[in-house]
């Protein structure tokens, strides 16, 4: 099993969810994050004084899937999140040793989906 972590632009979340649903990936966890990367921040002014914002709002997705689902999931995320502009985000893949469904105690593959 693998854990896929993706940082995307907030406004893309709906599109990404759509894309994932189409590939039958229904389960995920979402958190707010601030991101700092290639995408330069922007400058605001408040009462005439400068504010440098270099931590930009991002959305983080955590999706645990079976190994054979990794590719489709990644493709789905990309298809939903890519705009071609800097700031589109990153996808990280990690190994996942175990997965347990609290409700039933099921483990591994049948717990994940």
């Amino acid at each position: 099993m693998k854990l896929i972590i993706a940082y995307i632009q907030p406004e893309k979340l709906t599109a990404v969810k759509q894309a994932l649903y189409e590939k039958d990936v229904f389960k995920m966890s979402v958190t707010n994050a601030l991101g700092c990367g290639q995408q330069k921040g922007y400058h605001e002014t408040y009462r005439g004084a400068d504010i440098e914002v270099n931590l930009l709002k991002k959305v983080r997705l955590d999706i645990a899937v079976n190994a054979d689902f990794v590719e489709t999931t990644i493709e789905a995320i990309i298809s939903g999140a890519r705009s071609g502009n800097i700031g589109d985000g990153k996808i990280f893949v990690q190994d996942l040793e175990q997965c347990i469904r609290i409700r039933t105690g099921e483990k591994g593959d049948e717990a994940i989906g």
């Binding site: 907030p10 406004e11 709906t14 979402v30 707010n32 605001e44 002014t45 408040y46 991002k58």
Partner: protein
């Protein structure tokens, strides 16, 4: 306590009646009456104006609270600016147009720029020109600020500034002249005591025009055209706003009697205040019950709209209906406003705060209620001999005034659209107008779900 005072009051009067005779007193007494009457009535109107201005934060909080956090600065800024611009433009042009002598064959008035005089004739019921202006400008600003809610979340800031200048400087004063300036609507017996039509319907229909020309916010209607709820971000502020509006309305309606000295005035003012209260309460309760019935859960935002609906509905007629009739007017308004919201959803018009159902629809209801409940004779005779508040006149006004506001604003917004100075870009809209237009967040430091 109460009793005790009543007696004291009576005694005070007796004492005065007891004291004996002579000539010059008459003048003395007369001048006293004039002097204190002048002071009291102008003080009363000043208080009225202040209360009406208190409706500005009321509107600002309601509109801000009913919209998304990402657009809060923008909507607040619009509310602040329509007041500022309204004061200046109405001072420069609006006041002269609304209360000047008829020109262009009675289409509008003109009395010159500014206010003109400082002093007036000292008498009860006579307002100093400055006081009169202050009261009138507060009404103009009210009409203007209604619109910001209907076009929230997508209208450019600059476009709003343009709009509010045109409305307070030109559009509102012209239809205002038709009635309160003594224009043709007044002459045919149209009645609108404090402005269900001239103020609220004007604002409500101007807002409708804006909402239609702009189109809905992204996400308001699903692909298959179903309306989607886009929840307001701060209902406590919205509730506060409605309370402030309710309170401000005690200036809007009672002070529209324009005098409190004299038995008739004193009692009219108090009747108006109570009718206003009862209509507001009834509107709130009915709107709550209606949504409760339809959607199985009582919806706060609808109840708040309902209170405003009741207030708008009673505005045109509060001086000529009984307490019970006021209740009925509020009840109907409370139901109407809910139906109005559903109507807009059905025809895919996106009015985020319900400006049209509240001010447009119930504004018209208030005008019609004059004909239904008002005993026309109470309001006296119009120039053409017709009774004020008669059916023909009310229908005429209920059609022409909204039409005027809707038409002119539809044109204005369409022109802005043509030069695409009307709506922000989709990116900006999604990200929020606060960053896009002002580079400023309303709630810096708060974590918002950026995904909504």
């Amino acid at each position: 306590m109460k009793k005790m005072m009543k007696i004291m009051g009576a005694l005070a009067l007796l004492v005065l009646l007891a004291s004996p005779v002579h000539a010059d007193e008459v003048v003395t007494a007369g001048s006293v009456a004039a002097e204190s009457g002048y002071a009291i009535d102008n003080l009363f109107l000043l208080l009225g104006a202040i209360l009406v201005i208190l409706m500005q934060p009321g509107f600002a909080m309601v509109e801000c609270g009913f919209n998304a956090a990402k657009n809060a600065v923008n909507i607040l800024f619009k509310n602040v600016m329509d007041l500022c611009i309204g004061c200046i433009l109405y001072f420069l042009f609006g006041y002269g147009i609304m209360y000047g002598d008829a020109i262009l064959g009675g289409f509008m008035g003109w009395g010159g720029m500014g206010i003109g005089a400082v002093g007036g004739d000292m008498a009860a019921g006579s307002l100093t020109p400055q006081c009169d202006f202050l009261f009138q400008v507060a009404f103009a600003a009210t009409a203007a600020t209604i619109v910001s809610g209907a076009v929230a979340g997508r209208l450019k800031f600059s476009a709003y500034l343009t709009y509010s200048a045109v409305l307070t400087g030109l559009v509102y004063p012209i239809s205002g002249f038709w009635k309160w300036g003594g224009g043709f609507l007044d002459q045919m017996g149209f009645y609108d005591f404090a402005g269900s039509g001239l103020v609220h319907a004007v604002g409500g229909f101007a807002g409708l025009a804006g909402a239609i020309v702009l189109g809905p916010r992204i996400g308001k209607f699903s692909a298959d055209g179903k309306p989607r709820g886009m929840p307001g971000h701060n209902l406590p502020l919205a509730a506060l706003g409605v309370f402030l509006l309710w309170i401000g309305w005690y200036g809007f309606n009672p002070a529209s009697q324009l005098a409190i000295v004299g038995k008739a005035n004193t009692e009219a003012v108090m009747l108006i205040a109570v009718n206003t209260t009862l209509a507001a309460a009834a509107g709130g309760i009915l709107a709550m019950l209606t949504t409760w019935f339809i959607h199985k859960k009582p919806d706060l935002t609808m109840a708040l709209n309902g209170i405003l609906a009741g207030l708008v509905g009673i505005t045109a007629n509060c001086d000529g209906v009984t307490n019970v009739e006021a209740l009925v007017i509020g009840i109907v308004a409370g139901i109407l406003v809910v139906l109005g919201v559903k109507l807009l959803d059905a025809i895919k018009v996106d009015d985020p705060v319900g400006a049209w159902p509240v001010h447009g629809l119930c504004g018209i209801w208030g005008l019609i209620a004059c004909a239904i409940f008002g005993d026309g004779s109470y309001w006296g005779e119009a120039a053409n001999g017709a009774l004020y508040g008669n059916w023909i006149a009310q229908i005429a006004g209920a059609v022409l005034v909204p039409l005027w506001a809707f038409g002119t604003m539809f044109v204005l917004f369409s022109i802005l659209k043509k030069f695409n100075a009307l709506r922000v870009s989709p990116e900006e809209e999604l990200r929020g107008l606060d960053i896009g237009e002002h580079g400023e967040e309303a709630y810096s430091g708060f974590q918002l779900w950026t995904i909504k």
